[in-house]
Amino acid sequence: MTEIAAIFRNEQGKSLFTPSQLILLLRHLGKALALPLAGIVIFLMLWQGVANSIITSLGQFPGPVQVWEQSKSLVAEHQRERQKEVAFYQRQEDRNAKKLAKDPNADVKIRPYTGKATFFDQILTSLYTVSFGFLVASIIAIPLGIACGLSEKVYQSINPIIQTFKPVSPLAWLPLVTMLVSALYVSDDPMFEKSFLTSAFTVTLCCLWPTVINTTVGVTSIDRDLINVSRVLQLPSLVHVRTIVIPSAIPMIFTGLRLSLATGWMVLIAAEMLAQNPGLGKFIWDEFQNGSSESLGRIMVAVLAIGLIGFSLDRLMLAVQRRITWDKQAILR
């Protein structure tokens, strides 16, 4: 590490790195990347080998090569669809312009383009749905966790409920949520699709618990001395929560939020399959039903996308935590 620091501290030299330093830097980079790269290469080789020897009713199990082909074709489909959309709006504009030229008072219609949702549209839908469900859960769970941590009575009365609902699978909630949304969300001009609400609320139900539990633990383990400072100063409850409780509990709150988001992302895929929310879950389900020779490859692309997005979401939360936390030295993983 000191060697790297020395490289960057060299400010007088005309070129930033001398050749020997460059070699040193490359060697460090190489060391950092070598093992992960080796892991990936070995994994890909094993995967290709195993895939070659598995024949399913939908053809051969997809190996890395087929998956790469399918991901290219999904990108191409997306681009084609975007071009079609642009063309559609162009035609519509021309038509309307002609109409208006003939008769300035003509009643022109502007219709939205209703093309097929591409893989990338579906990713966006999934991200939007999970964010919505996660946000609703966090807005409920953080205050609830703080209340549980501050008051033994609240904790005693809520804990059994938390412990009972925590292990419930999202698949058990889904029918209930579906029926509730159908019964309660009646509107002629709905802002949200029902399938969206069903998926999002199922995510919410599964996202609540890790945040509630971790926030409670964070709040109950505040340093006694700090609580005594607050008592001596007779801080009003709200100030106490804002200046002492929340900053103390921030690391645990974030641990909870990250667990919740990871759970939510997993739950979302299952919920979308069943609720037919047009996200990644539905994509997989549709490909499965479709059953063409390309389906398995496309599903595998989706699987990888789900994994990478889940990973990125966690990194994103970590970055947010880094920004918010006061303890810049804390090692966050």
Binding site: V232, Q234, T243, W326
Partner: protein, 291 residues
């Protein structure tokens, strides 16, 4: 009953434990005048912090009670500021903000924003921390943190300043410096102070009276020593002063003759065992040298 400023009257406390309740304090009586500087001294674990916490209102006495200016203490409040043993600064607030939190609570109605700002800086300069106003507690040394903790309490202008081994974590030089500052502040402001200490010299130098506590359980006030040294006191002059040495002797005699420390006895025993170990070691060296 006397009518003093702060009356600790027949205080006893029991802590609930798994089998039978643990009696930490029994019939503690201390009456303190306004502006008096009192030290509590006693062996570790005897119950000094517990007395302080009861005066602060952080613990509730099982029997007896504490009366400050004719009013019974029933909850903690900013009129009884506490300097905690481990500084107890909020780690996410800067030095300045930590003091500000207290100042805002106490002077919100009586001081303007600018006055509060000056007051915060004034108190931090009293403890020589004006150079690190915008540092976080994690970025300063343990001794500095303790100084900020003291500044926070001084800034509250409490009726009683309660200090739990405030200088225990400081190096000797800083400690002497802070003791002098504290004496000076006390002369100027006339704070009523109860300070817990382990340091006999510190107790004699700073106090008007030294309250010596017996060993627990069921600890109580053993003796009270009145220190009639003239103020202002000068540590250099006093070091050889016969009266000072006499007071010092009396405290030491109480601590090490009348209230023998069980922990110290244990230590003495381990020390007695040490030479045996040393001989063993030299034996092995001799052997390895021979080989």
């Amino acid at each position: 009953m006397k009518n003093s400023y702060l009356e600790i009257s027949h205080v006893g406390i029991e802590f609930p434990t798994d089998d039978k309740p643990f009696r930490a304090l029994q019939a503690v009586d201390i009456s303190i005048d306004k502006g008096e500087f009192i030290s509590l001294i006693g062996h570790s674990g005897c119950g000094k912090s517990t007395v302080l916490n009861i005066v602060a209102g952080l613990y509730e006495a099982t029997e007896g009670g504490v009366i400050l200016e004719g009013k019974e203490v029933d909850k903690p409040g900013p009129d009884r500021a506490v300097v905690f043993q481990n500084h107890a600064l909020l780690p996410w607030l800067t030095v300045y903000q930590n003091v500000e939190l207290a100042v805002k609570r106490v002077f919100k109605k009586t001081k303007s924003k600018a006055e509060m700002h000056d007051w915060i800086e004034h108190n931090l300069s009293l403890v020589h921390m004006d150079h690190a106003l915008h540092k976080l507690p994690g970025e300063i040394s343990g001794g500095m943190k303790q100084r900020v903790g003291i500044a926070r309490c001084l800034a509250m202008q409490p009726k009683v300043l309660l200090m739990d081994e405030p200088f225990g974590a400081l190096d000797a030089l800083t400690r002497a410096h802070l003791q002098d500052s504290l004496m000076e502040i006390q002369t100027n402001l006339g704070n009523t102070v109860i300070m817990i200490t382990h340091d006999v010299d510190e107790a004699v130098l700073l106090s008007d009276r030294i309250v010596m506590m017996t060993n627990g359980p069921a600890a109580t006030v053993g003796e009270i020593l009145e220190v009639k040294l003239a103020r202002p006191r000068d540590r250099l002059a006093l070091a050889e002063d016969a009266e000072f040495i006499h007071y010092r002797q009396q405290v030491l005699r109480f601590l090490y003759e009348k209230q023998k420390n069980p922990a110290a006895e244990k230590e003495a025993k381990t020390e007695a065992e040490l030479p045996t170990k040393a001989t063993l070691d030299s034996d092995t060296t001799a052997k390895s040298e021979a080989a």
